[in-house]
Symmetry: C2
Subunit: 233 residues, 2 copies
């Protein structure tokens, strides 16, 4: 027999799933996660609402897929920015690239960023599928911190770290290939918080009327953070 002109069942399914997801992605970027309507997506794909449930058991499952995709995209952006720095030994440049990659992606995809780092969707518990891609970006920070440690760069003014704190951040030490100084790790974690705090405050409008030039302010802050980490030679 000749092959059917219509695609096979599996092909069709994959295609529809992809169509739904990327339409959802577009809607997400336009109207935000809370206003994401399954029916509207179905209409645009050319399906009736109930048919969508063949591909995604619920609206939350669709959201999960979008979250995973967003984490991956951000992870790609961050890793690409790091890799783009030719001089691998220029840790300050790599750090700056990393920070700006996060902010640039966030500004280009505000709704996606809000979905990842803003308020958790109510009644929605992130399944474990999301934690692996989520860890990529913080992992990039930690990897850079490890490289800095290996290069002998030391953050400034590190306070003694309590035993309780050492225990508290032990999982992160375990995540690293080999452990680094606890005080240094704490400093890197603080920088991680500072960067996402900055981006969130800016993006969610809390610097409105306080800071006039967001680009300049972020660059200055990142520069200061880089020296705090001892990356600037």
């Amino acid at each position: 027999m000749f092959p059917m002109p219509s695609k096979s069942r599996a092909e069709n399914r994959a295609e529809q799933t992809r169509a739904i997801q990327q339409t959802a992605r577009r809607h997400l970027a336009e109207v935000g996660p809370a206003a994401l309507s399954l029916r509207a997506i179905a209409r645009e794909v050319g399906l009736v609402s109930s048919a969508v449930y063949r591909y995604f058991p619920s609206r939350d499952d669709l959201l999960t897929a979008l979250i995973v995709a967003a984490y991956d995209e951000l992870g790609d952006a961050v890793e690409a920015a790091d890799s783009a720095v030719a001089d691998r030994a220029d840790l300050a440049a790599r750090f700056r690239a990393l920070c700006h990659a996060i902010r640039d992606w966030a500004r280009a995809n505000p709704h996606e960023y809000a979905l990842l780092y803003g308020s958790p969707v109510p009644g929605y518990a992130a399944p474990d599928d999301t934690v692996t891609p989520a860890v990529r970006v913080s992992g990039a920070f930690m990897a850079l911190g490890q490289a800095a440690e290996r290069a002998g760069r030391t953050p400034i003014a590190t306070l003694p770290v309590s035993e309780a704190e050492k225990d508290a951040i032990a999982p992160i030490q375990d995540f690293l290939d080999d452990p680094i100084d606890d005080a240094h790790l704490l400093r890197w974690l603080m920088v991680w918080s500072a960067v996402f705090g900055h981006v969130s405050l800016e993006l969610f409008g809390h610097m409105y009327r306080g800071v006039l030039d967001y680009d300049e302010h972020f660059s200055q802050a990142v520069g200061q953070l880089a020296t705090d980490l001892g990356l600037v030679t």
Copy 2:
């Protein structure tokens, strides 16, 4: 005639408005902002849904009232924590009190915190009514920074600040009674970002499985920030 057993019109209105708002507040704390149902609130107050519109023109107006109330509550908590430090000259203690007040309030009222510092509600633009109470908490940071400047405390390792950055943060200088060193102000802004970044990342689950003891980790970070600001003598 004897006075009517029923209250006057104005009294009734004020009472109903208050009843609606505090019921809404309770629902907000329980189910979060996105799941806040005007009809459910009306049911509990003992009204039909359409009657609520006499008091709040739309769901967003009700949300605005809740946002303002939440900002005020957080502002109260922060200012109270600062005032509770007996030794006014102990700037490090005041700073720690301020930071912990923010985090404690956030942990006690996660949905309210998310409403203020999480993703903005879609299609909802915060009116100017919200900016005044919103500024109280960042104002507390800045006031403390000003006190530190007056006391001659200098943050560590301040990078030279570009002219562009000076212009960018000029509105904050104007907000202060008298301007402080630009590099110092930048450091205080960075600390502001770091604190809210830390609280947001913790509360929104991004430290899950990375940090085991949130209390200890926050204390350590705040302690480090205090020394960064030159508050620890």
